[in-house]
């Protein structure tokens, strides 16, 4: 099993100035939720220019489709679509999601996101905790529902600190 190298993946995306929002549990961790995850989930802006930047990153980290013995590489047409591209890379698993939550795109989610500094000039855009909770509530899968109490408690504690 390959351990994810979260910072390296995020740095690679930032280096190419890929417009993307972290939407998985990594988003929750960066906002203070003590949850864990083994992959990086992003919703990327599906313009030709941004997909080209994302493709450059994916080539650099040797991204291929996971769970597919043909070791296929993602293409621009894949990334321009609404589907979920579940990839493995030199730095761990990366899911590039065209849409989430019943058809919501980068542009739909951006107003509910915030930019966080990870030091050294590295910034990432993450889906806000409140929206993350709602997305997971609507997804309704057991693993999403199981995370809700921790995410909600993190919102409450963050509010109490202000």
């Amino acid at each position: 099993m390959k351990t994810a190298k979260f910072a390296e993946l995020l740095r690679a995306l930032a280096a190419e100035e890929v417009d993307a929002i972290l939407v998985g549990m990594l988003s929750g961790v960066l906002q203070g939720a003590p949850v864990t995850t083994g992959d990086v989930d992003i919703v990327h802006r599906r313009t030709p220019e941004n997909v080209e930047r994302l493709l450059r990153v994916l080539k650099r980290v040797n991204a291929i489709y996971r769970h597919d013995p043909r070791r296929l590489q993602p293409t621009a047409s894949h990334l321009l679509g609404a589907g979920h591209q579940l990839l493995e890379t030199d730095f761990g698993d990366l899911d590039c999601l065209g849409e989430i939550d019943g058809g919501r795109t980068f542009e739909d989610l951006e107003p509910h996101s915030l930019r966080l500094s990870l030091g050294g000039g590295l910034h990432v855009r993450v889906l806000g905790l409140r929206e993350l909770v709602e997305v997971k509530r609507r997804a309704g899968r057991p693993k999403d529902l199981a995370a809700l109490p921790v995410l909600q408690a993190t919102i409450d504690e963050a509010k109490a600190r202000k």
């Binding site: 099993m1 961790v29 203070g32 003590p34 990870l118 408690a153 993190t154 504690e157 600190r161």
Partner: protein, 59 residues
Amino acid sequence: MSDSPRTTDMTDSVDARGVDRAQIRRMLAWSPAERLQWLQEFMESVTEIRRLNEDRKVC
């Protein structure tokens, strides 16, 4: 004075849904970079434990 170790009253830190609020407060006191480092170290520990046990039979 007792030699027994001091126990912690969990009711102060764990809420009714079983969420450890103290852990959340500790995470919130960290920077996003420190939170990322926490996750990285956790995942590396998990990988190491799995590696050390990969030859063990699963019942």
